[in-house]
């Protein structure tokens, strides 16, 4: 496809134990991520879309090594991250940074902007204090903020500005991959656009790859080259961004596109919303997890689990659904 992937995730799985009772024994598990395989190529954006509880944030955290995976492999710049010691893994993790949804929660309110942005440099013992301060100024300039704000605190900024500070911090160690977990969903539309444009510019200038996690399929379609759709801990469809919008194959992907109210009253859609809610990850449904809500459910879907299958020659569209078997 495009040479060697920067990041390859193979068959990743994570269950969180639930302890109950007098003896605090593990009684049940939350199946957060099951059998997920993805690749991200250099200078590429992979979009990860799904509703709350689909496991998309857990997947981001697993890749970041913030949580340990139960099974599967994470290969980043040719290193099997989850087999390295914590100290060794940190060497490679430098090249992987994260941006969070709520820039107020993810910036320490007692630290100045300088302290926030230079902390990653300090931890990795890069430069002296003066050099780091200069670097911080450069980073602020890169993300479109004034350089003279270094001594201010996060609460003195608006949501969009705070997200820019979060991005500056993520850029401090010149990462090759940024995992962005709902970076624009707390922002107003006009501010969203500013942040998305900034992220595109940074990608062009520094050749960064993004794993862009969001619940808004239009934002994902806009920013991503390829899109993976997650439902209840599994990837149900993965395709080129344009292809996915043109011909979404999985009934869930179709529902995601159709559910969004279109901003023009003339184009009123006669759309029947899919019924029901996302099932519990503690007792995921048998067979295809979407069968409880699927408008085209068949007998087979209730018993067998559909595997991700390649649909076209160039292997760019994969779907896990018996309708396309």
């Amino acid at each position: 496809m495009k040479g060697k992937p920067l990041l390859e995730v193979i068959d990743l799985g994570k269950k969180f134990p639930i302890r109950e009772g007098l003896l605090n024994r593990v009684k049940k598990h939350v199946h957060a991520v099951s059998q997920v395989s993805i690749k991200i190529y250099p200078n590429e954006t992979l979009g990860l879309v799904g509703e709350s509880g689909s496991g998309k944030s857990t997947l981001g955290r697993l890749i970041m090594q913030l949580i340990k995976a139960d099974q599967g492999q994470i290969i980043f710049i040719d290193q099997k991250l989850n087999e390295l010691s914590f100290r060794k893994a940190r060497q490679f993790r430098k090249k992987m940074q994260m941006i969070f949804q709520d820039p107020l929660d993810s910036l320490n309110s007692r630290m100045t902007i300088e302290q926030i942005i230079t902390e990653p440099l300090e931890i990795n013992r890069i430069g002296n204090r003066l050099e780091r301060r200069e670097k911080a100024k450069d980073l602020l300039d890169t993300v479109g903020l004034r350089k003279n704000i270094l001594d201010l605190y996060p609460h003195e900024f608006s949501g969009g500005q705070r997200q820019r500070i979060g991005i500056a911090r993520a850029l401090a160690l010149s990462p090759s991959l940024i995992i962005a977990d709902e970076p624009v969903s707390a922002l107003d539309v006009s501010i969203q656009a500013q942040i998305l444009n900034l992220m595109l510019n940074l990608q062009k200038d520094f050749g960064i790859s993004y794993l862009f996690i969001a619940h808004d399929i239009h934002v994902i379609h806009f920013i991503a080259d390829r899109v993976a759709v997650m439902y209840l801990g599994r990837i149900v469809e993965i395709a080129d961004s344009k292809e996915l919008k043109k011909t979404p194959k999985h009934p869930y992907t179709q529902a995601l596109f159709n559910s969004i109210p279109y901003p023009d009253p003339i184009k009123k859609k006669k759309y029947q919303p899919i019924q029901g809610e996302i099932p519990s990850m503690i007792n995921p449904p048998s067979g295809c997890a979407f069968h409880t809500r699927c408008p085209s459910v068949m007998e087979r879907c209730r018993k067998e689990l559909p595997k991700l299958r390649v649909l076209d020659q160039e292997e760019r569209h994969e779907v896990a659904c018996f309708l396309h078997d």
Binding site: V189, Q194, H221, S259, I260, P261, P263
Partner: protein
């Protein structure tokens, strides 16, 4: 008599102005907000965070916390009866019975230590409509009406046992309990997933039609406005900057801010090139008093006059009102 009622607005808000006290000094949060809602009609108020849309609804409901702020001017009439100056005890009878409200975050607006059955019954009983037995029966019926199927077993559930979508359904059931003629919905689907949002919007639409309810829909989402509203107010920095029928607004957005919002959302939904339309700059801070139009620092069409004179809301055509010295009239600049 009936005819005159039909043609007069159900709810009329005139020149509503509310201030919050910031460091002891009143700062106007909304200024001169006026609108009318007819029977069976849905009016949308759209704007970004901090534009005053929620304060408008809280002012109508007289829910502005004492000490934090107060309504400084304006009137609210329900069926041609002035209600904003009623003693609060009198007004309480109207709140819930005639005008009900649902909020954005059903997680925090339900009482965590009362079962949902008790919370619905509380509303029914507080207004002395039903005795205890009747109230239980009504509660079950309400839950069925909002799409909670196993209603009897759900009565004893507590809010934490329900999903976000379910909680919003319970909120709607509470709001509907006294068959209000107006429902104020403040960002009712913002905290919900898109597939659940679609379900709740469909539910609200059905209930509105069945009960011939009027609705005030407060949202930041142009899609929600387009698909649910008859008329729209666009708010910016505490003021109404544009007001019209929903078709006219989307057909010819006249205020540069409205146009900018539409272009931003459409450039995400229907991207033509890999570039997003943005409205540069930021919303002015509360109480930041400046001469001229409050949008002028971000406006692409501004001229000298915009920095000097504050534009008044005026009718341009067919009831389409705009507060702009140089409204966008060229259809080609529109979004369709």
């Amino acid at each position: 008599m009936l005819d005159s009622l039909k043609n007069s607005p159900l709810l009329q808000v005139k020149n509503l102005t509310t201030s919050f006290f910031i460091q002891g000094r009143p700062v106007k949060v909304i200024e001169d907000v006026s609108f009318e809602i007819m029977r069976g009609e849905t009016l949308g108020i759209i704007g970004e965070s901090g534009c005053g849309k929620t304060v408008t609804s809280l002012s109508v409901m007289r829910l502005i916390p004492k000490g934090l702020g107060e309504i400084q001017a304006g009137s609210v009439s329900l069926r041609e009866r002035e209600i904003s100056s009623l003693p609060i005890d009198e007004f309480r009878k109207i709140r819930g019975r005639d005008i009900a409200m649902i909020f954005q975050d059903p997680m925090t607006s339900l009482n965590p230590v009362l079962s949902i059955g008790d919370q619905i019954k509380e509303t029914l009983r507080n207004h002395n409509r039903y005795d205890s037995k009747e109230a239980v029966k009504m509660t079950e019926e309400l839950l069925i009406e909002v799409g909670i199927s196993d209603s009897r077993s759900r009565l004893g559930n507590y809010p934490h046992q329900l999903s976000g979508g379910m909680k919003q359904r319970v909120m709607i059931a509470i709001a509907l309990a006294l068959r209000p003629s107006i429902l104020i919905a403040d960002e009712p689907t913002t905290a919900l997933d898109v597939t659940i949002q679609a379900q709740i919007l469909q539910l609200l639409k059905r209930l509105k039609e069945e009960h011939q309810m009027s609705m005030l829909m407060i949202t930041h989402d142009l899609g929600v406005v387009a698909q649910t509203c008859d008329k729209v107010l666009v708010m910016y920095a505490g003021k109404v900057v544009e007001s019209s029928f929903v078709n006219d607004l989307f057909g010819n957005p006249m205020h540069p801010y409205t146009l900018g919002l539409m272009k931003s959302i459409l450039s995400i939904m229907e991207p033509e090139n890999h570039r997003l339309y943005t409205i540069e700059g930021l919303v002015p801070e509360l109480g930041e008093h400046k001469k001229g139009c409050s949008f002028s620092n971000r406006c692409l069409y501004k001229q000298n006059r915009c920095m000097e004179e504050t534009p008044e809301l005026r009718v341009v055509c067919n009831g389409h009102q705009v507060a702009c010295h140089y409204p966008v009239m060229d259809e080609k600049k529109g979004v369709r």
